[in-house]
């Protein structure tokens, strides 16, 4: 029991950390992407006083929005690669910072 408890806490901290980065961080980027697109679109996309036309479109917002979506998509691609790789007896290594696929030890 004692050992298992210790191993669990060791693992669960990492799960929490990874969960916060990927499971809350990526959705935040996605939300910021939505925010940027709305900024880029202006007008009805943003909350504004009734009767006015709303803020002016800001093209830079559109670019920023899609950039953020690209980062999120890369994160999801990493997730799918992880599923597929572990299915084929490989695993993702972050040894060189960027992920590489290596054999499971």
């Amino acid at each position: 029991m004692g050992n298992n408890l210790q191993f669990s806490f060791e693992a669960i901290w990492k799960v929490l950390l990874a969960g916060l980065i990927l499971g809350a961080g990526l959705p935040l980027l996605f939300a910021l992407g939505v925010r940027s697109l709305a900024w880029g679109a202006g007008g009805e996309a943003e909350v504004h006083a009734d009767g006015t036309t709303g803020p002016k479109p800001q093209p830079i917002g559109t670019v920023l929005g899609w950039l953020l979506f690209a980062v999120v998509l890369a994160g999801i691609a990493l997730g799918i690669t992880f599923i597929v790789a572990s299915g084929f007896g490989k695993q993702l290594s972050f040894e060189h910072i960027f992920p590489t696929i290596v054999d499971k030890h």
């Binding site: 969960g19 499971g23 996605f30 939505v34 997730g79 599923i83 695993q91």
Partner: protein, 407 residues
Amino acid sequence: MTQSTVILVLVIVTALGFDFTNGFHDTANAMATSIATGALRPKMAVALSGFLNLVGAFLSVEVALTVTNAVVKLQTSNGTPKESLTADGGVALLLIILAGLVGGIVWNLLTWLLGLPSSSSHALFGGLIGATVAGLGWAGVNWNGNGTKLDGVVGKVILPAIMSPVVAGIVAAVGTWLIYRAVIGVAQKYTDNGFRWGQIGSASLVSLAHGTNDAQKTMGVITLALIASGHWTDTKNIPFWVKVCCALAIALGTYLGGWRIIRTPGKGLVEISPPQGMAAESASAAVILASSHLGFALSTTHVATGSILGSGVGRPGAQVRWRVAGRMVSAWLITLPAAGIVGAIMWYIGDALGGVAGAIVIFVLLLAAAGYMYLRSRQAPVGHHNVNDEWDESTAPVERVPAGTGN
């Protein structure tokens, strides 16, 4: 056909049956939020989830043969069954597996009837533990592992069940809070459309991960039965037809859609909005993937429910029905022992009658129980047409507000 071949066929059919219940029991984990928020039409959601489960099941080529080793001592560490159990064509081992599977299915069907999202892996492990205790005594169960790694009933089942929903809940709560902060000032119509895609993407990831995680448990159990009865010897690979059958069973189950269960987390627990749905599914996907990377076994059901609760906590002003949550948690607590008791009783019945007769009788008992619960479910059917109806306080024992206080 020899005795053991007949029992083997029953084991395979029952295992595929379990896989099927596993599918529809867990559709809710991935799709309850998308269905509740209308991001996907109900039929579309279950079709997508079923397809991704099918794909996921084929991606899980990793050998899952030692899956039962986490909780019971039926196998040696390389996956072959213990020799003491394979005498007599493996009948002893087959009976334990059959009784355990029956325990898992019966509990899965009962919780489905009650609309409770309980864990399918707990049901399977519970059934196997009960049948093993009945067949081999308490010493046949791997309670605590050997202390060198996370193992045993405590390390692989109980501790993850306590910790994983909490972690998923924290991640989802933080995610929900951040998302709402980030989109202040954006028109709701605009955000809802954006988060619709975020939800579909994150829910798809959960479906895929579910297919890889859960289908291989049944693949492992069937292969163990094949080895025990002498029909397969390779401990490094799983027969291809087993993979195909299990993948199809879990995908069909998912496509059928456990509408009774989808309703509870989707409508009963929290009234979910699109940003919450995206936060909840992203949290589930991240926690499931991170855990399997670290060898931390968990139940997708616990994670998904924890995430949905967390998304309710993280949204200022959202209502969480804690009574519904309490009912779910109590179902989780009794899943393992309840499935275990059914598994044990089935083993005693099967063993008392002995051999083929015993196996056939417990199989018939399973069919009778399943048929009865199906008929009961028809009295108040839940399907894709009414899955999103308003949560009715009179039919479901949810939180009641004392008269006069209003809400």
